[in-house]
């Protein structure tokens, strides 16, 4: 279990998180949603150990997160952030293979190279493997970084390692922001697949249709506070959507289709054409 207990965080007079508690268990895919500035990324940063809390605690497999060294943390959880500032011309394969760093003592070089190759396959960037990272498009870069993160998580998903150090976690911030439709769903299903293999997965997304399609559990944040949590169909009700997003909309749940959001034509956010 990776969990946040009554977390409060402030920076420069702003409250980023206000008494937020949330958790993700092994095999679970949890999604955090909320409007801009709701504290989604802050919650994810707190869970990955990057944010200093004014009060509250973060626990990873029953140990306070600040008890781990950076290396121990890296062996137990992988993080995909929103932005990267890589300005040096590494090749795609080199970027993905950086994931090997924290597993060098546990795995052989051959195993680590296999994990990297498998991650490149899964994310479908084989054709880019020898290209220079800085020349790729935004969406391609995002997928390559995802491959790196999956390559970091894979060794920790081996049953022998899970037995030794417990459930590994995957934390992803906005993985779909610059992806096309196909890759949005592909990337989310890869995260889902990691949960099915035993990881605890926690994702921040804006797209509520995607969130409802892949989440076991949703957390809705607004202004640093937790509004509600639970299954998509119970959480994303018209009332909550109006309250949190100020939008009249509803979630449709038809058989044979993934859930998606239907937005009413009469909304404050839509300037009516005359």
């Amino acid at each position: 279990m990776l969990s946040l207990h009554n977390a409060t965080a402030q920076r420069g007079g702003n409250t980023l998180l206000n008494n937020v508690s949330l958790s993700v268990a092994a095999g679970e895919c949890v999604v955090i949603v909320g409007p801009n500035g709701a504290g989604k990324s802050s919650a994810l940063k707190a869970l990955s150990g990057d944010l200093t809390l004014q009060s509250g605690e973060v626990h990873l497999n029953d140990t306070a997160i600040d008890q781990f060294t950076p290396l121990e943390l890296a062996q137990r959880r992988a993080v995909l952030t929103q932005s990267y500032d890589l300005a040096f011309p590494f090749s795609v394969t080199e970027v993905v293979e950086m994931a090997s760093f924290c597993h060098q003592e546990q795995c052989s070089k051959q195993q680590l190279a296999d994990y990297a190759r498998k991650a490149i396959d899964e994310v479908e960037v084989n054709h880019l493997a020898h290209k220079c990272f800085t020349t790729l498009s935004g969406g391609e870069q995002q997928r390559v970084q995802l491959a790196r993160v999956l390559a970091q998580l894979s060794p920790a998903l081996e049953p022998s390692i899970i037995a030794k150090q417990g459930t590994p976690y995957l934390l992803i911030d906005e993985p779909t922001s610059s992806l096309d439709l196909y890759h949005q769903y592909h990337v989310m299903s890869l995260a889902r697949a990691a949960a099915d293999r035993g990881a605890g997965v926690i994702i921040v997304v804006h797209d509520l249709s995607l969130a409802a399609s892949f989440a076991d559990k949703l957390y809705v944040l607004k202004s640093g506070k937790l509004v509600t949590s639970g299954k998509a169909r119970d959480v994303l009700t018209s009332d909550v959507l109006r309250d949190v997003y100020n939008v009249d909309a509803s979630l449709t749940l038809a058989s044979g289709q993934l859930p998606h959001l239907v937005i009413s034509q009469h909304n404050d956010c839509i300037t009516q054409r005359t």
């Binding site: 990955s48 990057d50 060294t69 950076p70 290396l71 121990e72 943390l73 890296a74 062996q75 992988a78 993080v79 952030t81 990267y84 500032d85 890589l86 300005a87 040096f88 011309p89 590494f90 090749s91 080199e94 970027v95 950086m98 994931a99 760093f101 924290c102 020898h130 290209k131 220079c132 800085t134 020349t135 970091q152």
Partner: protein
């Protein structure tokens, strides 16, 4: 963002081939630097002297006492400058960084000049206690002080912003320039002469007793920095990302600064300010083998050795029997190279 070769060439081949080629070139320049000079010694004679078959001649004295320490110094100092340049460019995540530009070298210079001018008056026992090593120790301390300052500066904002660091470099260079100016004013004729020639950079007049401790310090720093190759690769991804991958980022920064201070301090103390080697060398190597520091570091080491030894050979033969300060040669070569890279960078940004 920056002007770099945005092509991944046949890296495998380049990575395998570069080290042997550079090693061979270093060997050639080593023999050439031993044989060419005011008194020419043919390379057959060089080999004879080195293998110990020829003894007692003038040539042997020149070779052992003058040229050999000088060539070894230029090889090792060049290697150190190359490796430090690569490490600095990585730690500031900017291919335009250089120990000279961010004020690290001038910190060393201030330390050294302070010892040259004030060594005898201010600390009565300092020069007599440390003798030959007073200047290197002063340079190391000055270097470490600047590194520490820059490290603290980066600590306030939580991370290095490149602009603020380069600006801090300008400020440090200006402050150091002022201090050195004051020290120059109050120095007597002999001290003035010493520090003028020292500040232009020279590999001359260094004998084994003086060179050896600096060489040891530089070699230690080179080995230490080479061992940080993989962490530096990770660090280039971004500070948060490197941390997520299991790297202790603060420890890495600290180590790089201490090793760089050790290396630059030792190099500046015995050779004076030699600019741009640390900037040009990693740049060229990066074009050939890419950014991976496991290849970049050894490549920069060898090319730095090669470049500095070749520059020194040029410096001491071009206007025989006089010598051009080597700092002038490296700056004359490196300055335009820097401007070209800067222009390329802004062209790319404008696109």
């Amino acid at each position: 963002m920056l002007a770099l070769g945005h092509v991944v060439i046949e890296r495998e081949l380049a990575r395998k081939g570069l080290i042997p080629v550079l090693l061979f070139a270093c060997l050639l320049i080593w023999v050439a630097a031993l044989s060419i000079g005011g008194v020419d010694i043919s390379w057959t004679e060089v080999i004879a002297i080195l293998s110990g078959t020829e003894k007692g001649s003038l040539q042997q004295t020149i070779l052992w006492e003058i040229r050999f320490p000088r060539v070894v110094l230029s090889l090792i100092a060049g290697a150190g400058l190359g490796v430090c340049g690569a490490a600095m460019q990585a730690i500031f995540r900017n291919p335009l960084a250089d120990p000279g530009l961010i004020g690290v070298s001038s910190g060393a210079a201030l330390g050294a000049v302070t010892v040259i001018v004030l060594g005898n008056t201010l600390f009565t026992d300092f020069t007599s206690t440390f003798g030959l090593y007073a200047v290197p120790i002063g340079a190391f301390l000055g270097c470490l002080a600047v590194c520490n300052f820059i490290y603290r500066l980066s600590g306030f904002s939580g991370q290095f912003t490149v602009i603020s660091l380069l600006l801090a470099g300008i400020a440090v260079n200006a402050i150091v320039g002022a201090f050195i100016g004051v020290l120059t004013l109050i120095s007597n004729d002999q001290e003035l002469r010493d520090l003028t020639f020292w500040s232009m950079g020279s590999l001359a007049g260094n004998h084994w007793a003086l060179v050896l401790p600096s060489l040891i310090a530089i070699v230690i720093a080179i080995i230490g920095l080479y061992r940080l190759s993989q962490p530096l690769n990770l660090y280039l991804l971004g500070e948060a990302q490197a941390k997520h991958l299991g790297l202790n980022v603060n420890a890495l920064k600290k180590r790089v600064f201490i090793l760089t201070a050790l290396c630059i301090g030792a190099a500046v103390a015995v050779t004076g300010m030699i600019g741009f080697v640390g900037f040009v060398v990693p740049h060229l190597i990066r074009l050939i083998v890419g950014t991976d520091h496991r290849y970049l570091m050894p490549g920069s080491m060898l090319l730095g050795a090669l470049l500095l030894t070749a520059s020194d050979l040029l410096a001491r033969t071009i206007i025989l029997p006089a010598e051009v300060p080597i700092g002038l040669i490296t700056s004359a070569l490196g300055g335009p190279f820097f401007l070209i890279m800067l222009m390329k960078t802004y062209k790319n940004m404008a696109k």
